[in-house]
Point group: C2
Chain length 561, copies 2
């Protein structure tokens, strides 16, 4: 097994018959999945998702793949295949289309439906190429064949990519529910056929590679939901992902069985379920839905609210209910069902929501105390099936952090993939498939691109470092006005501090010291404002550190008059 080394440089030219693969996201992280395939000068993109920020990236809304690698070659892009409509696979599409609006988006009916409704909010209308499992289409030199896979959103696809360099199978995200809600199984027969043909490289979802065994079936949640409904004497509030059509279907079915009305709450929930219903993926019994604004008119024991906020997002309905900052007031006897995963990083936020709801007397049912969620990603047992059926010559774990990719690589080795043909690559690492062997040949720059408000990429790592310092320590700013020719102090020092936790009066102590330092500087003929700034910064910084053991950002401002 090989893995990247810091010394990796730019890759050599790609041989004529070689296929180059560069992931711009999704390798070494969970999110912003995007892989770029290159053959004979043409590019194929598979997925274009976002990553959600962690506490090290304060104030950031989204993180995009770095498009720099393809920016000068956008015209060479023949298509962007979207395996399914989760945000970590489609969220960056609006930003990609800003760079070239007519890149054809290739995906299943539901995937394109959800992407289109998202793009409509960005006032964009994409070029769409609808495909379905079993279909085979050519985009430039890339001969694509699509396979049904089962996931936590309907209509997901895997894609086989044939070029003269060989056959690559990219699974997208998948699991292998053998009794899926919609009867649409992951196409193991298709994978077996590819295996017989000869898979040169398998790229497979690693998210759950550390989890032994098999994922419980989605339908096994049904009796638990039923029991929750049976036991509930008042209002039922269900929070789940706004794209989990099958989970919502199960709640609708339970509501129908128990004679409760349903209201959707939350913009993305309303939007996505509208699309899913219109396209026939969600069955909504007549008369079941009511408008969320009318929900208070129904007796509590006759309603179900289905809302967003299952990850503790502070602005979503559920968090606001927990804080009594929402028109719907949770009270003693209400039941809240968190029918969702707990995405790593959101533990603290979700715990706060559970405590808040519990405090008001709600019974909270969640994956920690009942079987109300199953994962959308194949566990180790299922991953082994795919490895054994496709019998790939080369293997590359995708979609996972290091721990997941290493675990998946180990599974591949156990099934007989030679260790030297297992490639663990990070984002930006160049993998070339040449003469039937996949090898790391270099790396390209591939940083985080931050979206904050309306701007893309303006927030840099330097700005984030500033934010971390400001957020932990606050700042102290010292403003003085000097005569621009003599350097003589005309006004100030005036001190402004925010978030420093240093009491205003404490600064009285340092002002004479600053004045004295400025006098000494003047005596030494220091008139340059840059130097004066340095004197002020040193004086104040030293005092703050010695007196308070803190390191706020010290900002000296010298204004010349």
């Amino acid at each position: 097994m090989s893995h990247p080394h810091p010394e990796l440089g730019p890759p050599p030219a790609l041989p004529k018959d070689g296929l180059r693969i560069v992931a711009l996201g999704g390798l070494g992280e969970i999110g912003r999945n995007m892989a770029v395939f290159e053959f004979d000068g043409r590019l194929l993109i598979v997925d274009c998702g976002v990553l959600f920020p962690d506490p090290e990236q304060p104030g950031v809304d989204l993180i995009l793949p770095d498009f720099d690698y393809i920016r000068d070659r956008l015209d060479d892009v023949v298509a962007c295949v979207l395996t399914h409509a989760h945000e970590d696979h489609i969220g960056a599409v609006p930003y990609l289309l800003r760079e070239r609006p007519d890149i054809p988006l290739v995906g299943s009916r539901l995937t394109l439906g959800l992407v289109e409704s998202k793009l409509a909010e960005h006032r964009m209308k994409p070029v769409r190429v609808e495909v379905a499992e079993g279909q085979r289409d050519r985009f430039g030199p890339f001969d694509l064949e699509f396979f049904a896979v089962n996931h936590s959103i309907p209509d997901a696809l895997a894609v086989a990519i044939r070029t003269p360099a060989g056959l690559v199978l990219h699974t997208g995200d998948f699991k292998m529910d053998q009794l899926p809600m919609d009867g649409r199984l992951t196409d193991l027969a298709g994978f077996a056929r590819l295996g017989a043909e000869g898979v040169d490289l398998l790229m497979s979802d690693s998210t759950n590679a550390e989890v032994p065994g098999f994922v419980t079936f989605e339908r096994d949640i049904a009796p638990v939901i039923d029991e929750v409904f049976r036991a509930a004497s008042k209002r039922i509030i269900v929070a789940c992902f706004a794209s989990h059509v099958h989970r919502v279907q199960q709640v609708l079915d339970a509501a129908e069985a128990h004679g409760r009305k349903v209201a959707f709450i939350g913009r993305s929930m309303v939007r996505n379920m509208g699309v899913a219903r219109d396209l026939g993926y969600l069955r909504v019994p007549a008369g079941l839905l009511v408008d969320s604004r009318e929900i208070e008119e129904w007796p509590p024991e006759e309603v179900v609210l289905i809302c967003t906020g299952s990850q503790g997002e502070p602005m979503a309905a559920l968090s606001r209910m927990a804080n009594r900052d929402h028109p719907i007031r949770v009270t003693e006897g209400d039941t809240v069902l968190l029918a969702s995963s707990l995405v790593p990083g959101n533990e603290t936020a979700v715990n706060k929501v559970i405590n808040g709801l519990t405090r008001w007397g709600a019974k909270v049912v969640h994956k920690g105390n009942a079987l109300v969620h199953v994962s959308g990603h194949a566990a180790a047992g299922e991953l082994l099936y795919v490895l054994n059926l496709t019998r790939p010559s080369n293997f590359m774990p995708i979609h996972g952090e290091w721990r997941h990719m290493r675990a998946h690589a180990k599974l591949a080795a156990l099934t007989g993939v030679p260790e030297e043909n297992i490639v663990i690559a990070e984002d930006g690492v160049v993998v070339d498939l040449v003469d039937g062997r996949a090898r790391i040949t270099g790396a390209v720059p591939c940083g985080y691109v931050y979206v904050d408000g309306t701007s893309v990429g303006d927030v840099t790592d330097v700005a984030l470092k500033d934010r971390r310092i400001l957020g932990d320590e606050g700042f102290v700013s010292i403003v003085i006005a000097i005569d621009s020719t003599t350097g003589k102090l005309l006004g100030g020092p005036e001190i402004h501090a925010r978030g420093s936790g240093i009491a205003v009066e404490a600064f009285d102590e340092i002002i004479p010291q600053i004045e004295q330092a400025l006098e000494e500087a003047a005596a030494n003929a220091v008139t340059d404002s840059q130097q004066i700034r340095r004197v002020v910064k040193r004086t104040v910084g030293r005092w703050v550190n010695e007196t308070f053991r803190r390191r706020p950002m010290i900002i000296p401002v010298v204004i010349e008059v």
Copy 2:
């Protein structure tokens, strides 16, 4: 069951024969445990711990209980009982003793030993009253009896508090390992005797009240550790809590059995294990320990490092190893054992450490993939034993968040405690035990007290709000110098922005607008610097929000010359 309402006001005077209980921490949160008992004008404190900050409290080192409630009555305090030496029970002792240095600290031998070594770092020497299980002592009107309890640190105690108001049993933190490493069982016979005598109020540890069943025994980890040692071909690095003497003992035993030398790494680990060894709680075979500075001289397969950092603390040894920022370089084949819990809130940090170590090729064994940790807190099954043996007239769940306290209250009700005698109180809520009934009678102010650097309490919630804004959005400061009499612009506007993610050049656009706004203000005879500041703030704030959809802190500074 009753729980506090926002309208709770100050409590009435305490009846002569009543016992008042006010928790200044630990109720509605995991941490800063501290309960104050009052009888006949005298006060008894049980525990005095710290809480560790969450992301909503950026830059804060520690959070203390609010001593305001007792500040004017420190002379009435007869003793501070420390049930065991975990930080969330003893961490605030140095700050309490700053207020009155001669408050007697009452605790077991190991507890006082660890507290003393901690206080020595603060250059304090406490008044100590060593007690042991089975002992009964009087402190003012409080007749205390101590009981052995088993926990994740040796020598923990529960305390029965007898006053004319009744008998209260405070369990401290405990579990009921029936085959404990040191043979020291939780004293159920003692609890049964109290039950026969009549427990008027049980205050019991709620941390694991949501967890069904029983906690696995500490000794069941031994074979897993042994297997890790057997399989390890290179260095073994074990991270665990610096106070978990029994866990460290198990690692020392395994090291001895497998012929490896041991080095302790991390200040608190070295200090605590020194105390535990000196007092006879840790058995260290002769010749086993080596100095951490010499560890590189031994072949990798002959050493074990025991270090801090199991919670992903960024400055601890383990995080630094994961980032290759430590003299000890983790490499392919090393084994890292995280023999610890994953404290809620630390998931992201620990995940980063696991990924970092995995990236360098280490095999990481943790509670997610092996039985290398057991909890220190009784699960529901064990809690039921205590409830059934003590048969309390009144019950008050302690040490937990709302979800845990509610779950524990439910267990109490199942064992027959009348619902109206179950009191769920938050920090600061006043519970009076009068005529054999525990009732909420009011609430006292009880905020967070933040420690940051050398200062205690200077960092306020306002400063933290500033930090959150600064950390998420950065700031934009606009400095101008004006003539103090005419209000005429003499210098500037000069713009400084940090963390805003707005490019420096972008500000060129706003400067003319500021100048224009100032001119208009001057035309309207606005010369007051306060008003001028407002004009500048509004102009810039509106521009930033409309142009960038951001809300950095806008700081106008007007300096008069």
